[in-house]
């Protein structure tokens, strides 16, 4: 299962990086969103999957899954949300001011 998830992470990463490499700002943002999906899965799979029960002590099992990655992912999710929100707004403000959402047109030529 872990290997399957890691391969899935690889697929998601590939897709995301392809998007990130594109010229359109929205595609780039979408790419970063998918990148964060991928890495969350990766962190989870690195802690080992399905080796125990839900990390709630009320479940009274002998063995719980690794709770630490879950906590880390939670933090990471919230942070990536914050960043995504910011860059989204940034993108549309940039579009308002610059009149383009094409990164090819955002090279900037301030110096000769």
């Amino acid at each position: 299962m872990e290997s399957l998830i890691i391969v899935l992470v690889g697929v998601l990463t590939t897709v995301a990086i392809y998007l990130v490499l594109s010229k359109n700002v929205v595609r780039v943002i979408l790419g970063t969103a998918i990148l964060s999906h991928a890495v969350h899965l990766l962190i989870l799979s690195m802690g080992g999957l399905k080796l125990g029960t839900v990390p709630l002590l009320g479940e009274e099992a002998v063995n719980y899954v690794d709770a630490l990655p879950q906590a880390l992912i939670l933090t990471a999710i919230v942070i990536s949300f914050a960043v995504t929100a910011f860059i989204l707004v940034l993108a549309y403000r940039a579009y308002q001011e610059l009149g383009t959402d094409n990164l090819g047109a955002m090279r900037g030529s301030d110096d000769e």
Binding site: T53, V54, L56, E59
Partner: protein, 94 residues
């Protein structure tokens, strides 16, 4: 026996999701896609419920309700978007 049935049920739900996914990918119109997404949300509710049965845990019952709530909110937002692009109105009686 029960496990087999539940696995079949889960697989069927996921199958339904795949079919809906096909509709999302194909379109052709935006509302088609939203309808399909709504359906995925509904199937997810069922899926999580069944999975709770598989694991016989209560930990995911919150998830069911949340999926319900969020499927509604996102469908609403998407419908708004499809309808008029502006999903939150600025003023009433504009």
């Amino acid at each position: 026996m029960i496990d087999t049935i539940l696995t079949i049920a889960l697989s069927l739900f996921i199958l339904a999701i795949i079919l809906a996914l096909y509709r999302i990918i194909r379109g052709p119109s935006m509302p088609d896609r939203v309808v399909a997404l709504d359906m995925i949300g509904v199937n997810l509710i069922s899926g999580v419920a069944v999975f709770s049965v598989v694991l016989s845990t209560h930990a995911f019952l919150e998830v069911i309700l949340i999926v319900g709530i969020l499927a509604f909110i996102s469908t609403l937002a998407l419908a708004r978007f499809v309808e008029r692009g502006d999903i939150v109105e600025h003023k009433h009686n504009r």
